[in-house]
Structure formats: structure tokens, C-alpha cells
Symmetry: C2
Subunit: 287 residues, 2 copies
């Protein structure tokens, strides 16, 4: 690796919410020069005061000279931000969008990147909480987490390798490289379905009475119903086909279990639960 | 309260698994004399060696002279244990079955209790883990947890009150008193559905590839797929009607969300997610 690549290397973060704020803190901690932009002046002030950034403004120009620009905004805002600022983004810079859907965003931004002389790389930091905004950001959010990269449009492998090095220095444990389509399929299962499920689950008439009748399994399945509605409505709609496939798969499996429950068929239930246990165990043991 | 009630009061625990073992430790810690029974001699030995019990044997007679006998076995085993030992259970003793389903078990045991001169009280300690057996038991399992009591068959209030005092001394934070039927309906939602859901969820073809693509929401919804198949097959089958109602409610809510996802209808999705967030927030704020 050419170490000179990171000499005088400037990182920009557009959007200082939970993800952007935590990225800023992680890169600052790793010793990088970090600039930040947020539409909200109070957030900019907070980020500067706590030292999460070296400089910040509620003007996009604060981050457009970055060598690596992370865009940590909602999907539609990300597309709009990149298009509106495309001509002023540093030539040759790497722009990493951090959206939770990749096909939808990448297909809209790749032509913008090639027309304006910067490199686009899809990214997705795999961490989060049910809380939102800069106040929830912290420098430990990504420790042990993975970061998914979805290079496309002929991005050179060498650029991807440099970004991997950069992300590892910020604390990400594992960098996964895949296609936008495979990312979207996997995320529909690992992240979007649990969020949608939590929202469906809490709509039961029993939910408001749960106190005194609930313990860990209720808490875990309902946790992410404390959702950011605007963000997740975008993410669900922008990954509609893959998410519908996963909902259908779940409903099929629920129906099979329901049939055994309705019939009071203990043998069938035991067999289905053994299968689930074996899958979960197999997945755990790979850890 | 008549304090003399607990003088020379002996607690018996039939079944020294996760729940029974933890109950034994909790009552020992509270200063009670505790006897234990388990079908497995190794478990009996382990419970004695670590001081979880004052005495124990793999013979039911070890616990039949208890003033309060907790039966912490699977539902069918609980019914069988009580029926087989009914004549030798101390007259006037309180027998608390700890099964996760109450209507099914209570309806079978109430006549046995009245015919044999002991008192039956349905109970359900609301704590657990995805691990099983005495090795997973610990004296802190019930700290902060609730214990649901489902008195029926004309059990005197005074008995219920004494059991409440007993349970609070063992670390239970909240004692909920309700009917067997309401217990079963609530538990179908708070506990059985999350377990069934976790088992349905991990059957997706995406599950074995989740590593690198998953974070907290995947972990939480899949956790209890590490299930005890034999126990939960019984619990599901013995609460079939209530559980089917909850599965149907969930599938209805999933279908509504699916329709909005399939249509890419952000406005409808935003509205549905706002509703879920408000429910979850309302429930949290009551904490």
C-alpha cells in the first residue's frame, strides 16, 4: 500500500446525525483531519464543541474539498446533495454514500460521478441504535461492526483497498465487499424485515397491556419499533422487491408453524422448532 | 400479615432446571429452608454441591412435605408429577405450578388438588434465557422480574397474599394476579409469538449468509430461535387458540405493511411507522 495516499488526507462528513456524527468521531480518534456539514446549525455547533470535527459549517462547502467524502443522509437527501454539489466536489475524490439501500442510490449517482470527475463508492456501516441524531452519536458505535462496500461502475480495486484500510483504522472490524443487488437482498432480511416486523408486532391489541406479562423476548422483538418513520419509509420503498420477497418468505414460514399450532400437532411443532434451533446454532457456531 | 405463617416454613422445588434451580437459589438466599427434586441424579448432586438447596434427591419424596411446593417441569410432566404424588403431598400445602400455559394445566390439576387436600395456585415466573438446565440457573434470574399468579377454584385471597410476600422476598419485583385465560392470551403475545417468530425468521435462505450483513436488529429478533423444541412445542400446542389469534393479528399487520411496501407508497409507510413508533413510545413511557 502506498502510505503517501493518506498524507494530507482530508475526510468530509455530510450529515452529522447518529451515523455521520459517529463516523466523524471515529476518524478523528484515528488521527484524521475531519470536516463536517449539517443542515442544522445547532448540530454543527455541538459537533465543533465536543471536538467531533476539526471544522464544520451548515454550508456544504465545508466538506466539498475532502479527499474522501462520506454522505450520511437519508437516501433522497443523499441523491439531492450529491447532484446539487457535484460540480464542486474535489476532482478525483472518493464519495461514499452511507445509505441503507444501494441499488436505488447507486444507479442514480454513478452517472453524476463520472460526469463530474469523482469516484462513487456505495457503503453501509452496519451499526445503529433505535435513537437518532448527533446526541446519540459516539466514537464506539462502529467498534466490532462491519462496513459493507458495493463498488460498481468499474471502480478500481486499488481504491476499494484504500477505503478498506481507512475504515479499519476507524474501528470497523470487518469490511464486506459485494454487489449493490446482493447487499439489498441481505439487508432486506437482516435489517429491514426485523424493523418492519417490530412495527407489525406492536400493533397487537395486547401490546398496551404488556407490562407484568413480558420479559426478554418481548423486549427484543419490539425494540426497533421505536423507529425513525421518515427514514425507514424511504428505505423500505427504495428496496421494495427484495423486502417483499423476505416478507413473503416469513409469512410462508409463519403459516407452516401456524398450521401445526392450530392442529395441536406436537410432533410437527417439535420437528419445525428443531430445524430452527439447528439453523440458529449453525449460524452461532460460525461466530 | 401473620408472620408465624413462615415459621418452620419449608419450600420444595420439583425440577431443578433453569427455572427451578434459580427459584431454589433465590429462596435459599432469602433465608428459607429449600428441598429439591430432579429426575436427573447429576443435577441433584450439582444443586447440593453449590448450596442451591438444603436437601435434594432424585426421588419426589424429597419435596412432598413442603409447605409450598413449586413444580418447575414441562406442562405434561407437571400434570403427571402432581397426579402421581397427589396423595403424598402435605395436606394444606400450596402447590404452585410454574408452567407457561395456565388454562390447560389448571383445568387438569384443580380437581386433583381438591380431592387430595392441598391448594393449587397457577404461577408463571417471567424470566428466562435461551439457555437451559441447572447449569444456566442463577440467583439473580428473577431480580426485577414479575411473577404472574392465576388463582382459581375459589382459592382464598389470604393464601394469594402470603404467596405474594413469599415471592417478593425471593426478589420478584412485581406480582401480577389475573385469570388463567387472560394470562394465556397475554403470554401468546409477549412470549410465545416472539419465539415462534424467531423460528420462522431464521428459515429464510438468507440466514446462513448473515455474517457481515447483520447487526442488532437481526441479533434481537433471531435470539430465541435458540429454542428448547420439546418444551415450546408443548407450550404452543397447549395454548393453541390464543397463539393462533396472535399469529393472525401479526400476519394481518404484516400484510398491511407489505401492501404499502409493494406499492412503494412512502406516505402510507410513514403513517404506519409513525403509528408503531407512537405505540412503542407510549408503552416505554409507562415504564
Amino acid at each position: 500500500m502506498d502510505d503517501s495516499f493518506f498524507t494530507d488526507f482530508k475526510i468530509g462528513i455530510a450529515g452529522l446525525g447518529l451515523i455521520g456524527g459517529s463516523l466523524a468521531m471515529s476518524f478523528k480518534k484515528a488521527g484524521f483531519y475531519v470536516s463536517g456539514y449539517d443542515i442544522d446549525a445547532t448540530t454543527v455547533k455541538a459537533a465543533k464543541e465536543c471536538g467531533a470535527v476539526d471544522e464544520a459549517a451548515n454550508d456544504p462547502r465545508a466538506v466539498l474539498d475532502a479527499d474522501c467524502l462520506f454522505v450520511a443522509l437519508y437516501p433522497e437527501d443523499t441523491i439531492e446533495f450529491v447532484i446539487q454539489n457535484a460540480q464542486r466536489i474535489k476532482k478525483g475524490a472518493i464519495v461514499i454514500d452511507c445509505c441503507g439501500v444501494k441499488t436505488y442510490v447507486t444507479s442514480r449517482l454513478l452517472p453524476v460521478a463520472s460526469q463530474n470527475g469523482f469516484l462513487l463508492l456505495g457503503g453501509h456501516p452496519m451499526a445503529g441504535t433505535e435513537r437518532v441524531g448527533f446526541a446519540a452519536a459516539h466514537e464506539g458505535l462502529f467498534l466490532g461492526a462491519s462496513f459493507i462496500l458495493t463498488p460498481s461502475g468499474g471502480l478500481p480495486d486499488a481504491i476499494c483497498d484504500k477505503v478498506k484500510t481507512l475504515l479499519k483504522s476507524a474501528g470497523f472490524e470487518r469490511i464486506v465487499v459485494t454487489t449493490p443487488a446482493h447487499h439489498d437482498r441481505m439487508i432486506a432480511f437482516t435489517s429491514q424485515l426485523p424493523h418492519l416486523l417490530a412495527c407489525a408486532y406492536v400493533r397487537s391489541p395486547c401490546c398496551p397491556q404488556h407490562k407484568g406479562y413480558s420479559a426478554g423476548s418481548y423486549r427484543d422483538v419490539s425494540r426497533v419499533a421505536h423507529i425513525n418513520p421518515e427514514l425507514w419509509a424511504e428505505l423500505f420503498a427504495d428496496n421494495s422487491a427484495a423486502l417483499c420477497e423476505e416478507i413473503d418468505e416469513l409469512m410462508k414460514n409463519l403459516s407452516e408453524l401456524r398450521a401445526a399450532v392450530a392442529a395441536g400437532d406436537r410432533a410437527a411443532l417439535t420437528s419445525l422448532l428443531h430445524e430452527a434451533h439447528a439453523i440458529k446454532d449453525g449460524v452461532d457456531l460460525e461466530s
